[in-house]
Amino acid sequence: MTPVATPFFFYLLSGLAIAGGLLVITRRNAIHSALALIVTLLAVAGLYLMLYAPFVAGVQIIVYAGGIMVLFLFVIMLVSLEQTVKERQFNRMWPVGLLAACSLLALFISVFAKGKGLFVERGAQLPESANTQQIGVMLYGEAGRMGQYTFAFEIASLLLLVAILGSVIMAKKRI
């Protein structure tokens, strides 16, 4: 299975993701920011596809672009926008933000400097179709054997359940 025009698509998708990310933090209109974020998320989904992780890409589209961003838009639309447009976008937290950005940049530079040797060489590349099954096996295990991440996965789902219950209790006057 030969990849299709990999360098071109890689740079296109990364460019889109970065441009989208920049737009997210520079737009004053929250809706526009949200739309830019959707572009970023879709571009990232495309990058996943290029990494032969179609399942992750699909989930990225469904959960982030299709689900969470709709909720974002939902919330943004319900709050009054006119004031937020007028407000100053950068508040007093900017030194912290700058610090975080700088350390991230430093991390990137160090990774770039050390080069390929930093990462553990993985095994043979999996065929595309086995990828989804591998995820399943890792999460749920095979017959008679628990998966590598079953426990963590179940804990996470339990946590989410608690979060759902909590939000229901908070939102509902009487149950």
Partner: protein, 440 residues
Amino acid sequence: MLDSLMSYLGSTLTPGQANNQLWALIYVFIIFAGVSVAVMAMNWIERKALAHFQVRLGPMRVGPHGLLQPIADAVKLLIKEDIIPAEADKFVFWIAPLIGLLASFTVYTVVPFGPSQAVSDMNIGILFMLGVSSLAVLGVVMAGWASNSHYPLIGALRSSAQMVSYEVAMGLAVVSAILMTSLHGTGLYGVSKLTDGTGTLSMIGIVQAQQEQHVWFLFKFFPLGLIAFGIFAIAMIAETNRAPFDLPEAESELTAGYHTEYSGLRWSLFMLAEYAAMIAVSSIAVTLWLGGWMRPFENWLSGSTWDFVFALFPGLTFLALAAIAFVGVVRMPRHSYFRVQTIGLAGFGAVLALIGILLLSIVIGAKFSHHDILNRTAEGLSSVYWFVFKVGAFMYLYIWYRATWPRYRFDQLMRVGWKVMLPISLGVLIVTAIVGVLLG
């Protein structure tokens, strides 16, 4: 050039899998044009069928029996003034219909019209379809917000809430169908065994699983498959905002919902997207539960003779349509006013008859000549025909629902979605898993 074109025709892979970009492009064009024509045809059929449900005639003026009405409508919409409200967010207003359209057309990349009649077969086909079709919500939400008007906003909020909530039940119903792909069984409750690594998310793989198991998932683990299908069939109507769940466009409440402020071409893009989405979700239902491109009664009426008989259906259908057109010609009033219409209808009938004869000759030729490409073409035609036939049945159901039912109220819609459909689909999923393991 021609060689490379022809060489693919003998292949049994989709162009995407065969890495044949030229054919992939051709398929994309065929599907795009086909879906657009199907939407126009659906427009005509809906108006006609709805009219006959409601004791009226429907379009009758433009062309014989209004056959050219969709074209007239399209022309009208194209030349209409394109109005953008003064206070609207121009960019978002402009891009919203495109997003909806893109989402509903991109889905067709993985729709398996036949064993190799798809642009590509993705490993995560069904996931891709659900994911991309869920992006259509964004178009609706953006349209509602960008119009800067109350009714579109409420319409957009309604439809996004509706789509997001019904996606949950829909997804769970889909999962139970996917589960069935890995549970081998030969009938309703026939021998079944759990096998590792045979389950699949690929659209073509799902149909192939039904082929191998000799059962449409609709009938598998009766009534589990049927219930899951029912859940999906209801949820897909809600997903596409059609009656009785057409609240986002409830004209008696919200004038036209999220596209109230749209006009002309942009409005028609929304309509195109809506109908394309209807066809797309119907294709999912057909693929998952109704055996996709499989012809009906493959178990009962098996054998090459029956295969041949069923392969004749496409040609016969076109001949039947031609016959109807010719009946129309005969019944057309003998008056000079109707001469053009009569000739037009006769020509239309002749074209249909020609197509029918062509299809029949391909099938009969394939039967007796055993030429590889001819054989494959005949098979492909039969597959596409049965797929389209099943999808068409769903389209008719859409019209039927619209003619019959009043509209749900929003809270009732939500209640049905969360308190009825979700638990049932969850239950079906769990019971399917248990049944599969017990019989395995």
